[in-house]
Each structure stands twice: as structure tokens, then as C-alpha cells.
């Protein structure tokens, strides 16, 4: 069964199962309720620049719609609900004021995201004021408490599904750090108490409440006013909670998007540093190739999905075999049989721990020491206290001494030598760029490395190398063609974008296929700048000589004539031998199948038709050509 028949996204190397499907430690399905504050304060402008400034509300909406788009691609089984509070209109099952659950047709409130939901949600801002409206929900003198109601609604939405199998979260987007600020006296304490109690109740049901504060430097978001109590932060945690204030709205959107997704731990593993020093670390998959969803086979008549049934048939007798317990490999003219237990025993060579072997200078980690995407390692004190301390000490030493750790990582599937490269934290204006921790790089074994360069070894020591002048010209070129602000992964994958663009258009029933820009093409205009053109030309003359193009043309001509002469001869021969048969007659009498493949190919070559494929394909091609 070919799941990706076009081979679209798999190169020659198909990734291990281990790397495509992450083994998730905790519950794999997730339910999220986005609670978005829609109070007038959210519609304040961020930043001072009048033309470019946008509202806080916009930042929240765009980061949510961005994450929905990611979600529909990657984790479409997760369920989401979108819920505004501090609204004029109300829409919720409990019929509470100031809470509006946003939804589209054919979808429950809490359900998988659909193409329609994403489309309508991303353009909600235009109609928000007229359809839903914004107003403060907590005002003095009234018993209304929109935050309480919102939590209630969210909690009710998350009632389905057992917390054992589903992880449930409520994400609150707000820029109001003190929602009960304008209330005083007993009413205030009462409201705070009931709201916090509501949150505790939700947490008791296994619902995680997180707050995504939108804050700017002028008005930092202070969690300790109210939200620390709500989400149950204590002592140190309040300080650790990092609503880093940002200058620009794009950065805010960026930061929100990063925080919307839950960190998923791939595995918790034991890292043995030396005899009897075993610390614990969590591993995370920060970089994994995104693949398009798998193909489901459908019945083209009913569009219902089909079930694939696999059966094993004995090649000798044709009898049906149940899943055969043994495997074999031919060796020395006989079949050596293995049981599945024996095979897994062979592969089990270590205990699944990460085992430190020693340290090496960073420059010994070569560019070709790579096989698959790296895994991020971060310490945890959850079961073994002191793990973080040892990890940080090693991390700092490795950074300072410029070394990487060599370790053996032996899962049952594919044990390997790995390099652990310490990465210091990198922070930019938009928040954390590189988290602190170590990256585990999977190293090849001797049999995985090919010495291709050596194929080109010539017996005479006569290989030209560049002269200093040529190198200098290349350096100039390099400076001219410097990519400004290049960052890894700034490009979207054009094939994937196209894939999902088409699916989205089809899902929404649109006729127009979207035109997706391929960002990966070189910048033609930039390349045409005279400085670059000149540098290129200089370099070209330096390495190729003045008359390179002319030489190319003439050499091409000669090789061309050679090849074309040969091809011509082949065609002539084919025409000649094809003339031996009366093709129309053969075709009419169904006698084409009596001819041999080379004979059929003669006809095809003579008429300049492709000659690939099986015999049936050749015959059908001939028939088509003859017009039958």
C-alpha cells in the first residue's frame, strides 16, 4: 500500500516511524477553549505609530487563527472552542450575559476546527462590533461577573471526555490585569472569591487554566493583581511567569502563537553521567519534518472511507497464512530463520538510557555527522531532585570549554551515538529565540558514511586548486551576495502550502485554486543589481577565463551533434524495422500482443512516443496512436 504515491514529501530517505509519530507521554488528544477578552480596552491601539498600529484584539485573533491553521494540519483531532467575554450579545448554553461562543455551521461548540471556522474567524474583526459588540462586563453596582460566567461556560464546554485520555485547557487572552479594579468593598472580595473558586473547581476537574497576557512596556501586565490567584501560582512561580512586555504587535502575535501550543514531551529519559550519577531529562521534538496528512482511500461512488484488509498468502501453496511468526534471510544458500523475539533481542543492546561517554571539542563535530533531525534535551527535577543542577553545571562547562558531549542513546528501535551540543539561551525583542538546553544530534556509524570524494581521486597528483586571486574574487562575491537577516526556517514549505491551499479551497467548495507564492526562489531583482552582476562576472572570468561562454557553445555543439546523430540512427533503424509489420492490421486483429516488446518499441521509437512501461502499456499506447 502506497500512502504517499507521489513520493511528494519523502525524499529518498524515508524517516523512521519514531520520527514521524511522536510517542507522546501523556494524553494525546487535547481540548482547548480560547477565552478572548472583548472589552473596549482590548480595542485600544498598540504602539504610537498611528498608521501601523493595531489593536490588542487583533493580536489575539491573528495568533489564534494562525495556530488554528497549524492545528488543522498537524493535530486535527484536537478540539477547540472559541469564546469571547465582555460582549454585548450573548450566545451560550447557560444563557449567561456577556459571553459569546463563536461558531459556524455543521460544528459543535467544542469540536475539531474546520476550514469554515478558520476562514470566518480570521475575518471576524470586520463584523465583530455589529454582530457581537464589546462592553465592560464587570461594572460597579451590578452583580454581573463576565469573567466568572466565561469560566463557567468554558468549563461546561469541557465537560465531555475523561481527563484521563484528554488534556483540557482554557487559554485566557486579556490585557486587563485587574478585572475587578473598578469594584470596591465587599462586592469586590466576593466576586474575586467566587471567580477564583470557579477556577479551582475547573482545575479539580483536570482543566488547566492558562493566561496569555497582552502587555506593552508602558503598561506591564501584573499577574499578582489577580491572575496569580486564579491560575494558582505560588511564591517563586509568580516571578518565573514571564509576560515579557514587547514593543511591536508582530512580536506580541509571535509570542502568543508560541505559547498557545502545549509543550509536548517526547520522552523522559535517564541520563547517566557517570557510574551511579543518573539524572533525569525530558526530550522534546522541536524540529521535525511536517508531512501532509495521510491518504485515506475512499469509494469514488459514495465517498465513504474504505477499510484496508491485509492478508498474507503463502507464495508456494497459495494458502492463507496468519501473521507469520518467523522471518528469514537467505544466507549461504539456505534460509536462516529468526523468531520475532530473537530479532528484538538483537536490537536490544542497551537499557534505553542516555549514557555519557566523554567530551570532545566542538570542531570535531563535522558537518556531515548528521542523519536526522535533532532532539532537544531539558532537565527535570520531577523525579530526581538535583538533576537540573548537574545539567546546568555541565551545560555551562561545555559552553565555556567549547565541547560537546558524546553519548550513547539506546532505545529499542535504533540505538545510536549522539552528540549533545549545549545551546545558550538567545533572546531577541520578540522573546526567546533559542531555548537553553542541549541538542541531541544523531551521529552516523562508520557504515553510514560514504567516502564519495575519494571516488574522484585520480592517480596523478594533478588536481587544480584555486589560486589566491580566485579566492579573493570569490570572497568579494560572497560579500556582495550576503543575505540580510537570514534566519533558519524563514521560508514556508511551498509544497506543503500548496497542498493545504488546495485542500482548503476544496473543503470550502471554492473553484479558484489558490496561488501560493514560492518564497524559496532566489530574489531575481536583487540578483540583477549591478554590483552583484559585476562581482559574478569578475569571479567568472577569474575561474573560467575570458572566453568561457564561447568555448561552452562550441563544445556543446560538438557534443550535441554527436548525440543527435546517434539518436537519428536509432530512429532510422526503428522506422526500418517497424515497416516490417502492418500495424493497422495487427491492431484490428488483436495480434499486437503476439509481438515481442522490442518489436513494439520499434514502432513507438519510429513515431516518437515514449517507450517506457509494461507490454500492455506499450500496446495501449500504440492503439491510441493508431486511433483505435
Amino acid at each position: 500500500m502506497n500512502l504517499d504515491p507521489q513520493g511528494l514529501f519523502r525524499d529518498d530517505s524515508d524517516s523512521d516511524d519514531e520520527f514521524v509519530q511522536e510517542k507522546e507521554k501523556d494524553t494525546s488528544k487535547e481540548m482547548v477553549v480560547y477565552l478572548i477578552d472583548a472589552s473596549p480596552k482590548m480595542f485600544d491601539l498598540v504602539g504610537n505609530d498611528e498608521d501601523k498600529s493595531q489593536t490588542y484584539f487583533h493580536a489575539a485573533i491573528s495568533s489564534i487563527s494562525q495556530s488554528l491553521k497549524t492545528q488543522i494540519i498537524g493535530k486535527s483531532y484536537d478540539e477547540v472552542a472559541i469564546c469571547f467575554f465582555n460582549t454585548k450579545e450573548k450566545k451560550n448554553l447557560q444563557d449567561l450575559n456577556g459571553v459569546f461562543v463563536f461558531n459556524v455551521n455543521d460544528r459543535e461548540y467544542l469540536d475539531q476546527p474546520t476550514a469554515k471556522l478558520i476562514k470566518e474567524f480570521s475575518c471576524i474583526e470586520g463584523t465583530f462590533m455589529s454582530n457581537i459588540g464589546s462592553q465592560y462586563g464587570i461594572i460597579p453596582g451590578s452583580r454581573e461577573n463576565s469573567l466568572y460566567s466565561a469560566l463557567w461556560v468554558a468549563q461546561a464546554l469541557l465537560r465531555k471526555g475523561s481527563p484521563k485520555y484528554v488534556s483540557k485547557r482554557i487559554l485566557i487572552f486579556t490585557n486587563e490585569d485587574n478585572p475587578f479594579g473598578n469594584i470596591t468593598g465587599a462586592a469586590k472580595t466576593d466576586m474575586i472569591r467566587t471567580t477564583v473558586q470557579r477556577a479551582y473547581d475547573a482545575q479539580e476537574m483536570g482543566i488547566l487554566i492558562e493566561i496569555l497576557p497582552l502587555s506593552i512596556p508602558d503598561e506591564p501586565f501584573n499577574v499578582s493583581h489577580f491572575y496569580a490567584d486564579l491560575i494558582g501560582l505560588e511564591g517563586d512561580e509568580v516571578a518565573q511567569f514571564l509576560p515579557s512586555a514587547v514593543e511591536r504587535l508582530e512580536d506580541m502575535t509571535d509570542q502568543l502563537t508560541k505559547r498557545i501550543f502545549k509543550k509536548r514531551i517526547v520522552r523522559t529519559i535517564s541520563f547517566s553521567i557517570a557510574k551511579s550519577i543518573n539524572i533525569e531529562v525530558n526530550t522534546y521534538a522541536l524540529i521535525r519534518p511536517a508531512l501532509p496528512g495521510s491518504v485515506t482511500w475512499l469509494d469514488s461512488v459514495t465517498n465513504h472511507s474504505l477499510k484496508a484488509e491485509r492478508s498474507f498468502i503463502c507464495a508456494d501453496t497459495g494458502a492463507l497464512v496468519h501473521e507469520p511468526p518467523k522471518r528469514f534471510h537467505p544466507y549461504k544458500n539456505e534460509n536462516v530463520k529468526f523468531s520475532l523475539d530473537e530479532l528484538s533481542e538483537i536490537k536490544r543492546i542497551s537499557n534505553g538510557h542516555l549514557c555519557l561517554l566523554g567530551f570532545k571539542p566542538l570542531d570535531l563535530l563535522k558537518d556531515y555527522h548528521n542523519l536526522k533531525p535533532s532532539t532537544f534535551v531539558f532537565p527535570t527535577d520531577e523525579t530526581i531532585i538535583g538533576s537540573t543542577q548537574i545539567f546546568i553545571a555541565l551545560h555551562r562547562s561545555m559552553l565555556q570549554l567549547k565541547r560537546f558531549a558524546l553519548a550513547f542513546y539506546g532505545g529499542s528501535a535504533n540505538p545510536r551515538l549522539v552528540a549533545l551540543v549545549a545551546q545558550d539561551e538567545v533572546i531577541s525583542s520578540s522573546g526567546q529565540v533559542e531555548p537553553p538546553g542541549m541538542h541531541m544530534i544523531y551521529l552516523p556509524f562508520s557504515d553510514d558514511i560514504r567516502h564519495v570524494e575519494e571516488l574522484q581521486t585520480t592517480a596523478d597528483a594533478d588536481v587544480p586548486h584555486a589560486t589566491d586571486d580566485q579566492i579573493k574574487k570569490a570572497s568579494v562575491l560572497m560579500k556582495r551576495m550576503e543575505l540580510k537577516d537570514f534566519s533558519v526556517c524563514q521560508f514556508a514549505n511551498p509544497a506543503l502550502q500548496r497542498h493545504y491551499g488546495i485542500l482548503q479551497a476544496l473543503a470550502l467548495g471554492e473553484d479558484e485554486m489558490p496561488d501560493i507564492k514560492d518564497e524559496t526562489l532566489p530574489d531575481e531583482d536583487g540578483m540583477a543589481r549591478p554590483t552583484i552582476v559585476n562581482a559574478l562576472e569578475d569571479f567568472k572570468i577569474a575561474v573560467y577565463g575570458e572566453n568561457h561562454d564561447l568555448e561552452e557553445v562550441s563544445s556543446k555543439k560538438s557534443s550535441n551533434t554527436d548525440a543527435s546523430r546517434k539518436r537519428k540512427a536509432v530512429v532510422e533503424a526503428a522506422v526500418e524495422s517497424a515497416a516490417n509489420h502492418d500495424w493497422a492490421d495487427l491492431a484490428d486483429n488483436g495480434k499486437l500482443k503476439d509481438l515481442t516488446v522490442p518489436e513494439l518499441k520499434n514502432y513507438l521509437t519510429a513515431h516518437n512516443i515514449p517507450v517506457t512501461g509494461k507490454k500492455e502499456a506499450l500496446i495501449s499506447r500504440i492503439l491510441t496512436h493508431l486511433g483505435r
Partner: protein, 689 residues
Amino acid sequence: MARSKEALVLLLDVGPSMHSILPEVEKLCTMLVQKKLMFNKNHEVGVVLFGTEETKNELEKEVGGYENVFVLRDIKVVDADVVDILHNIPRGKFPGDFMDAIVVGIDMLIKKFGDTNKGKQCLCLVTNAQYPIKDPYEGTKEDQVDKISSNMKAHGIKFDCVVIRENPVRSAGKSVIDENDHLLNQFSKNTISKIVHVDNPLALVGALRTRSISPVTVFRGDLELGSTMKIKVWVYKKTSEEKFPALKKYSDKAPSSDKYATHEVKVDFEYKSKEDPDKVVPPEQRIKGYRYGPQVIPISSAEWDSVKLKPDKGVKLLGFTDSSNIKRHYYMKDVYTFIPEPGNRKAIVAVSAIARAMKELNKVAILRCVWRQGQGSVVIGILSPNVSCMDNIPDSFYFNILPFAEDVREFQFPSFSRFPAAWLPNAHQQEAADNFVRMLDLAPSDREEMLKPEFTPNPVLERFYRYLDLKSKQPDASVPPLDSTLKRMIEPDTDLPSKDKSAIDNFHSHFELKENPKKKKPTTLAWNEKPSLTDNEAGADGRTSDIQRNLIQDSSVVKVEKIGDSNPIQDFEAMMARRDNPKWIMKAIQGMRAYINDLLENSYRGDTFPKAIECLAALRKGCILEQEPKEFNRFLFHLYDKWKTSDLLEFFKILPSKNVTLITKTEAADSDVTEEEAKNFPLKPEPSS
């Protein structure tokens, strides 16, 4: 096919100084031959030993000399015998002369193939090159090497050499060794040869590529620097994982008398509709569906082909950037190498100029590649220089694929500096760590780099091939343990020099690890102590650490730390009874409450009610015993509040009949619920907060 018919002559030094390492040589050679048996069945192999007592070679008969060189096997197609021969290489008693062996090897190849088969013949020499070679009859040793190598060149013979020396050489033998190394290196000047030095058995086992794979280009064409400037390059894979061999499924249906039975199993797929499981849908009626959210979108291959991305084949330069801009951990896949088109001097110079300039300025290039026409996807990657250190190998590039925006998950992690001080190492600890990192150096300046990926064999494959051979002789043999030489790469060296040991001990004494009492001990830790895997745990040295003892101690009695599904009431009682920390009581109560909540939440027509009532009764009892009536009463009110409007109301109606109601003042002094109120619950609830 002629192309696959390679011939190899192994030249093995079996002189006395090699004896200690010969078991590893045997392993290396059998592995090599075994793989040929499996993957290259028509390759030919000959084996020549030198340093033997006996002498057996044609040159000796023809021209004399060449003593102590023994042809163990003539050049023949690989078979099972050669594996057995190499399993047991006879040891020799004489210092071997590798130069004689080389000449014998060349003579064998020339006699067998003459002028044919050029470029597919190879000599492979394994020696420690510790003994001086004999002086030639005329000219110097250097002249001799020149003569031999021109002969090799004329016949297209390649030369691989592994020089193994475990210990640093004593000064007495130094001059001999230097001379020998010099002579061997001279080969590489004008023949296609490769000389590898290794200094430990593990590296020896990995020193030869045991499987020959004829490389295939991924791409041949232009590296486009711009529309006018192009360089002709060939692209190959530089690394590619050698997978565990794909084994076939075995069918025992064929009668044992059938000699020609293949025993193979064919796999057949049938697609059936879910509604009607008996109906098989024929292939032409199937259509592919792609999942998009909850929808599955049907689209035919033809339709898909007409709309999908169709980039043009080509490798285009986007620009250059600082190498520090691209972190090592972004490399995504196996690595490619770009080499200039062979024989194209212009291309060789152009690649060389760019590679050297890159290296000088610490720059890398960013490329966009589409390897084949009609490929449907593009890759972005980083081109880094590989400046050749050999005169006769042209400069080239490495190419690593970088992730696209979709491939990266930007999780946020707390800064280390934000951690509480107790989690951060102090100055002494940091110093101990620095020392530790310095001491456990795998690439000391006075030795070869240890565990170099190039020389490290895959232990699983090694084990598989060994087992395969074993099983072919004894079909019921059990899986052999991992080779002791290869253990070195799985566990740290056990016999370290004492200075290293002290660094570890010092590191050890500065840090303390203990189990988090809040958490149950994970099963993985228990694993750790498996004797087969860590055989040196039991008091091998005096200070088997406190840490370990700590871990063991804590885990010796498995204490209940949370309410499980199988025995919730017992778990609860066990937790309530724990006296090591008062907070267990609160934990138990909280755990039980959550558990009851779950039960009720998941109830279907009251199926969980009996269990919930039992649990509630247990909780009630516990709360009375521990004088925590309020906890229980509050919980009961809370439950009632939450579900009074739902169909769970039934549940509350059963409660009084089971004597499960609020805890009264008489039962626990702290309660402020009267008998009356308790009796009326849940009919007239009066929250007493």
C-alpha cells in the same frame, strides 16, 4: 553485470606483535566477507597472510624470496568457506614484511585479471607496520614503492591500508615505524589509496567500509550562482543510514519435501467498504482522500497532478550568510556532498575558489534545490566547504537540509537564570563540572580521537551478522551477547586512569541527587540496576554512592502515592495512614475527591454510583478519623451544587440510604453541621462556608 564484479585481496599481518589484536581483525574481515555474501554475491576475495612460519606463494616458486607470505586462499567468488577461514586466522611467528605481501597481492591480481577489470581490484592491508621491511635488491625502499605503485596504477588497483597501534610506540622502534609510515604514505601520492591509523580495537572494527555500495548521483547539473554563472556539479549522498536488513516473512506451508519452495509470503491488500464488509471495492473505484480537519477531501491523482506544485529542476544559490547564523541542530536529514564534475577543470577550480573563500570568511551558502524534474517538493539547505587536504582530491561541499517554517515548533523554556538558586550550581560545583568535562576528554592531543563516527561500527548490525552466521550452523543458537569490544561505545570505560577517576569522584562529591518524594519511582530506574547491563555496581569501589543508596532505600518499600483505579479505597487508606509527612492526608483527600468526581462525571445511567458511594463512604470515614469534617462537607456541597440540575440528582437521593451524608458536630468537633441539617441533606442544603 561486470560492474559488480569486484575483487579484493586481504593482506593480513599475523606476526607475533599482532596476536593481541587478531581477534578484532577476524571480526572485521568476517563481517566484510559476510556482507559480500549477502549483498555482493559475485565479488571475489583472496586472503594472504604474512609473518607466517610457512611460505606459500607463486612468486616464491617463480623468482624466490617472499618468505613468510602465505596465500591462504586464492582469488575466488565469496563462499561460506572464506567466512570460516577468516574466523580462525592462523597465528604466525615471524615479523612480517608488508611490502612482500603487497607485491604478492598485486601479482595475484595481475595473474587473475591481466588488463581487464580495471578499477575494480583492491588490496586491503591490515598491519601494525612495526617491523622493518627488507631492503630491495637494487635502489632504495622509496624507489621500490614508486615501482610498485606505478604498477598498481597501470592495472587500476586500489589500495586500502589500516595501521593499528594500540599503545604509543617505544622510542626504540620509533625510527622503523616512522620509516614504514613514510613508505605507506608514499603510496597515496600516486595511487588511489587510503591509509587509516587506528589505536583501539573498536576503531579497528569500524575502520573498513564493510559493504560496498556503488554511489549514485542524486543530481547532475548546474549549481546556479546567478543566471550567467553556473558550475557543473554532481551531488551524492554523503551519509545514509544503513538499515537493519529487511527480513522476509517465512511461510512453513510448503511441504518439507519441496526442494524448490521459496517459503515466501505475499501480502495482499483488499479495500472494503465499512458499511458492507463483504464488498470488495475494485482499485479503479477507489479515490484518494486527504484529511483536512474533520473533512476528508476526495481528489483523484489526475486532478492532483494538475494542481500540485511543479518546481523546475535546478540548484539555485540564494545567497551567503555567516556560518554562525545557522545552528548545528537545525540540520534535518542525511547529508549530501557536492563535487565538481569529474574531469571538468573549470568546475574544479570554481568549486575550490568558493569553498576556500567560504572557509576563510566563515561563510556558508544557502541553496534551493530541486533534484529531479517533476519532484513535487523543494528543499532549502546550507552548503558548507570541504577543503581537501589531499593533493589529488578536489575540493567539494557538504550540503545539509534546513527546516521550513512548518517544521519548527517554537516551545518556550524557562531561562536557567530564572530558576531558584537551589537549582543552580555554585562556584565549587561549577569548578568540579569544568574539571569533569576536561578530564573525560575523548580527543586528547597525544592520541587518536576516540569513538570517531567514521570508525565506529553499528553494534546492532554487527550483532545481527554474527548471529546470522551462528544460526546458519546451529539453527537453535540463542542471541549472542554484545561483542565486548563494542561495549566500549555503550558504556563508559571502566578502567580509567586514576586521574580521571578522581575527577569523577570529585564531581560526584559536589552534587547530590535524591528522589523526589512526591513522585512514584519510575520503572525505568529499576531497570537501571539490571545486572547484565551495569555489571559493576556491587561495591566495585568503596564509595558506591550515597545517592544510589538513597535511591534504593526510598524505593525499597513502594509507598502508595496516589489513588489508582484498581483499588481506590485501599490506596486512600494507605495514604491516610502514612505518617512520614502530614501533607499526605490532604493529598489523599484531594486525590479521592478528584477520583469521585471522575466517577460521577463518567457515569452512564448511574453505572458508577455504587463505586462512587463506596468511595464517598471511605472518604467520610477518613475525614472523621483525621478530624477533617469540613473538607468532606465542603466537597459534598460542591458535588451537589454542581450536579443538582443534572441526571446525577439520582445519586444524591441514594446517599442518605447508605448513611453517607454530612459529617455532624457529634462525629467530629470541628464540624458546624447539626444532626438535623445532616439528615435533611440534600433536600435543604445550607452551605456553611
